[in-house]
């Protein structure tokens, strides 16, 4: 113990800067890891809670088999409750409306899930049953009375406050038939069911809502409370089947848990990317640790030799080094935890903006903390493993040598062989892509790390020729003393290699992120231009009858108004299971006059395709679905309509990112015929040439705004907001890539500091024979510069390779087939980043070198 204290603490004290630097690499990695996992957790939690809150303690839900306008007959409630095993059937009638006093929002709500018109949601419920199914905490007044026809309502506290509503007041609710007045009897907290629609939510007696919205005898959903004895999934499935049998084909029995799957899936995809990148930062951190320890071994060769001479065993020395690593890993990881918790605060804010839901600050999940800790410490130990063994292998004779000379290890001489094997096999694995169904992309990430390792192993073999090649450039940039510096990277090839490796990974990551983003965004923008096409976006909290279309068209300055309706549907192919997705119904004629479709590459005649859609019994399939199910134009899919399964022929494949890319586009006429829906969510308006869109928007607002509670927004501004939301979502990736580079730059600082310390004598001598301080500094900068160039160029190559591999993998996994887009500025940018980072990192060591006192340096030893 005393020995450990003596050796360990002393070595930390002697090299505090290096210890801190290498520790910081781990800290950043761990912080990234933790903050992302915490944020994700709370985002997922928020989404899930939303679902749980709305379904409450119901374990089964009954919804109409065909969605869109379809509802369930109220008699079904008693039919369901008679099924053995059902404790209670809880009816809900859902309406979207708005307070009469509430003015329409200025802007269309935008989030990850698409555009949203705001408004409020009212559930018509059976008060007694409802209280058993869902949680309500009354904060003032009372809950609904048991009278089914009472003309009363309960609102969420925050919502009432925002709208200046007090208990006891009669409030106006907008219905299709004018304003209805109901008594506000109580307020509930914004928790449990109160979280529905982000709090813009109220409950009223079932009869009352049916009457106000003219939906007598209808309900939208029946939640089923199951007998407590039904505990297993098998029992539940059996019960679901029984209920389904009793109800026939009109209704579907679903499990509430399955409903949020797509949302969570989408969030998951986003997280995989973030997780992967924070993993990369940690990976680069491992390089840093390796480097620091490898240096320590070289530096302390004499010390280790001496310790071996006086009787320390190999194992003791190795253990000693690993202990140092452990201490470092622990300290770095704990610091990372603290930083991660801080970071997660900011991240949560960003995320809640993206999702447009409030994220509750959750207690930091223990599992996430443990994972980050284990990873941080594990990576540190892994990085220190090889150097620790080397330290153990120092022979006592080496203590007698004047200076520890770094030996050309086996890795440096032969490392390229396993390197090439690793590189080739990991590329092959990524191409083969067996992880299509690994939801976390864990194995995939591992393969990418192996790829990095492979490239790093190959580097030493190339370093000398590269240095030769770059000599003229170095001379040009740094003057004659620069060549002295660039030569140094040959001297300690191990150190230089690792540093270049870290830089290379950082640069590659920046490039991958940029490449993926650009490839993704270029498609996404194209689609978004169409999705938010036209000049004015017209939306409303209440459904818009198609007559609104002709009224819009009648307004001077409006050239065309195209209705859009989103409808959840069930579909299948001849061979596949039933799937749920979203049908976007448009009127092909007006839609193409306002905006257009983004046809997938290699599409046949667009005009023909649109015509085919207009003819009916045809759909456009999104590229993701087409890819996923191997469907081509001309194939047939089936959708569950009011009259059962109906075939639709695929007229074209289009790019669509809505609903995670799983979309079917159909014609308005088909929707009316097969789903009996005839109202719109949105109108896209194009103004006549020469007209000012803002003027026309005002005109629409004056004439129709109030009546239909329209939310109008110029598409220019909407698009701008959408794109900025997009940028926000992607900026996380950039941030993480930058963290990798920062960690890599710490490696540069480390390596150069080391190099300067090691060459103190030489620098003193060079100063003595006439090297100016300036030249000394430039010499160090040149050493960094050549590493930056090397890391930059190889990083670019690797980055392009990886981006292509990722795009390829993404097409296989999610069906998004993206064209590879990489702006040349991006390439130059990454090279410049690598250079600038290397130079910044070299500043301090360069200064230190320039300040070397000549006499002390040459008298040294």
């Amino acid at each position: 113990m005393r020995l450990i204290r003596l050796l360990l603490l002393r070595s930390f004290r002697l090299r505090p800067a290096r210890v801190l630097l290498s520790m910081f690499g781990i800290t950043l990695g761990v912080a990234g890891m933790l903050s992302i996992s915490v944020t994700n957790q709370s985002a997922l939690d928020a989404v899930q809670r939303l679902l749980v809150n709305t379904s409450g303690s119901a374990r089964l839900s009954i919804i109409p088999a065909v969605s869109g306008g379809e509802s369930l007959p109220e008699q079904m409630v008693s039919a369901v409750s008679r099924v053995a095993g059902v404790q209670q059937a809880v009816p809900v009638l859902k309406v979207t409306t708005s307070l009469a006093s509430q003015s329409a929002p200025e802007q269309v709500g935008l989030s990850f899930f698409g555009a949203n018109a705001g408004g409020m949601i009212i559930h018509g419920v059976d008060a007694a049953a409802e209280l058993r199914a869902r949680e309500y905490r009354v904060t003032s007044g009372r809950f609904l009375s048991s009278s089914p026809e009472a003309n009363e309502i309960v609102l969420v506290e925050n919502f009432a406050e925002d709208n200046d509503l007090k208990v006891g007041q009669r409030i106006g609710i907008l219905t299709p038939y004018g304003v209805e007045r109901v008594l506000l009897v109580g307020l509930i907290a914004k928790e449990g069911a109160g979280l529905t629609n982000n709090g813009a939510f109220g409950v009223a007696p079932l009869r009352t809502v049916q009457r106000m919205f003219d939906r007598a005898g209808e309900v939208d959903q029946i939640d089923v409370l199951v007998e407590e004895s039904y505990t297993s999934t098998a029992q539940l499935n059996l019960l679901a089947r029984n209920v389904q049998q009793r109800l026939g084909t009109r209704a579907s029995v679903v499990s509430p848990a399955s409903q949020g799957r797509r949302t969570t899936e989408m969030l998951n995809n986003y997280q995989i990317g973030l997780n992967f990148l924070s993993g990369v930062a940690l990976f680069v951190g491992a390089y840093l640790i390796y480097n620091a320890f490898a240096m320590t071994v070289v530096e302390r060769t004499r010390e280790f030799g001496m310790l071996r001479t006086v009787g320390m065993t190999k194992a003791q020395i190795t253990a000693q080094m690993l202990l140092e690593a452990l201490v470092l890993g622990l300290a770095g990881s704990f610091l990372g935890l603290a930083l991660g918790i801080l970071l997660s605060r900011g991240l949560s804010q960003l995320m809640s903006g993206l999702l447009n839901i409030d994220l509750v600050r959750m207690p930091i999940p223990v599992s996430a903390v443990l994972t980050s800790l284990v990873l941080g410490i594990g990576v540190t130990l892994l990085g220190a493993m090889l150097p620790a063994r080397q330290a153990g292998n120092v022979s006592p004779i080496e203590a007698l040598r004047i200076r520890g000379k770094s030996r050309e290890g086996w890795l440096l001489v032969n490392g390229w062989k396993p390197g090439v094997v690793l590189l080739a096999s990991s590329v092959a694995i990524l191409l083969w892509n067996p992880f299509a169904y690994d939801p976390m992309f864990r194995l995939g990430s591992l393969t990418v790390f192996l790829l990095f390792l492979g490239v790093t192993l190959i580097l030493p073999a190339g370093i000398t020729p590269w240095e030769r090649m770059m000599q003229p450039v170095v001379k040009l940039l740094y003057g004659s003393s620069g060549t002295l510096g660039s030569r140094n990277i040959e001297r300690s090839r191990l150190r230089s290699t690792i540093t270049v490796g870290a830089l290379l990974v950082g640069v590659a990551m920046i490039l991958v992120v940029r490449g993926m983003t650009e490839s993704f965004v270029s498609d996404l923008r194209l689609w978004m231009e169409a999705y938010l096409g036209g000049d004015i976006y017209v939306n409303s909290a209440v459904p818009l009858r198609s007559t609104v279309g002709s009224q819009l068209r009648a307004i001077p300055g409006v050239a065309m108004a195209a209705p859009v309706r989103y409808l959840p549907v069930q579909w299948k192919t001849a061979s596949s299971d039933v799937q749920e997705t979203t049908l976007m119904a448009v009127d092909p004629v007006s839609y193409t006059q306002v905006t257009g479709f983004v046809f997938s590459e290699g599409q046949t005649n667009p005009a023909e395709a649109v015509q085919r859609l207009a003819q009916g019994d045809a759909v456009f399939l999104s590229s993701v679905l087409s890819e996923k199910y191997g469907l081509k134009p001309g194939d047939t899919i089936y959708m569950r309509t009011r009259s059962g399964w109906h075939p639709f022929s695929i007229a074209a494949v289009v790019v669509d990112f809505y609903n995670n890319g799983q979309m079917i586009t159909g014609s308005w006429a088909d929707m009316r015929r097969y789903f009996r829906v005839n109202d719109a969510n949105t109108f896209l308006v194009r103004v006549q040439p020469g007209e000012d869109a803002a003027e026309v928007e005002k005109r629409i607002d004056r004439q129709l705004g109030k009546r239909y509670r329209l939310i109008l927004e110029l598409n220019d501004s909407l698009r701008k907001r959408a794109f900025s939301l997009l940028d926000q979502a992607f900026i996380m990736f950039d941030v993480l890539a930058v963290i990798s580079i920062v960690v890599a730059s710490l490696g540069v600082v480390n390596t150069l500091t080391m190099s300067v310390i090691e060459r103190r004598r030489e620098i003193g001598m060079l100063r003595a024979i006439g090297l100016t301080r300036n030249q000394v500094a430039r010499m160090v900068l040149a050493e960094a510069g050549i590493m930056g160039l090397l890391g930059g160029v190889f990083g670019i190559v690797l980055g392009i390779l990886l981006t292509r591999l990722f795009l390829f993998g993404m097409a296989a996994m999610s069906g998004y087939k993206l064209a590879f887009v990489m702006a040349p500025e991006g390439l130059i940018f990454s090279l410049v980043i690598a250079l600038v980072v290397s130079q910044l990192a070299a500043l301090l060591p360069a200064l230190q070198a320039a300040r070397t006192p000549i006499l002390e340096a040459i008298q040294f030893e």
Partner: protein, 251 residues
Amino acid sequence: MKILEAQNLHKTYELGKVTVRALAGVNFSVSAGEFVAIMGPSGSGKSTLLHLLGGLDQPSGGVVILSGQQLSGLSDKQVTLMRRRNIGFVFQFFNLLPTLTAEENILLPVIIDGQDPRKYEGFLVRLLDLIGLTDRRHHRPDQLSGGEQQRVALARALINQPAILLADEPTGNLDSKTSKAMMELLRRSCTELGQTIVMVTHDPRAAAYADRVVFIKDGQINQEIQFSSEDDLPKRYRQIVEIMEHLELSE
């Protein structure tokens, strides 16, 4: 003609409360083409003097004038350029750059100065011939023996024909045979190339190659011997040893 002159040089080191007087008023000059050896007991201030003469350190008092230029008062950059162009150094430890070949090491001052090394090809060949390493010019320091490395260091110090060559114990790390070769080289540099040399040494055999020996004690010049060209090495050696013994006895 005096090429190097030190007037009333003082150097004190403050070590906490203790003040070490390394040099206490040294007056010393070297003429062009002269070969001077500086001797004295350990700690007498020989290296300190040499460092001040070479502009590696600043005196606490007094001045150093090299080729008519006063060294103290110059900026670091000016002194550095002075060293680069007018002074050659040879140290006890060979101090070559391990990444460069022998030839590149020799040309280092030229490279540092941003000059075209090819212009020095002729002189380089002559120097390589002088130090006897013509066939090893492309070898790296770790492929050379200590004596060979020291010869390369000498050639490096000579490459730009400095006004003065300063050497601190150039044979300190060599055995007697290689020491002899080294000293012969220094002598030839002086005689054949007209190189002015100031050399610090402990070794009376080495000092015997000089034209003049200056003895330092307690930071001051204590004695001097000027040899005549007729004196042979053994005679010089005896003279030096005699004075050394005398100095040690008076301790």
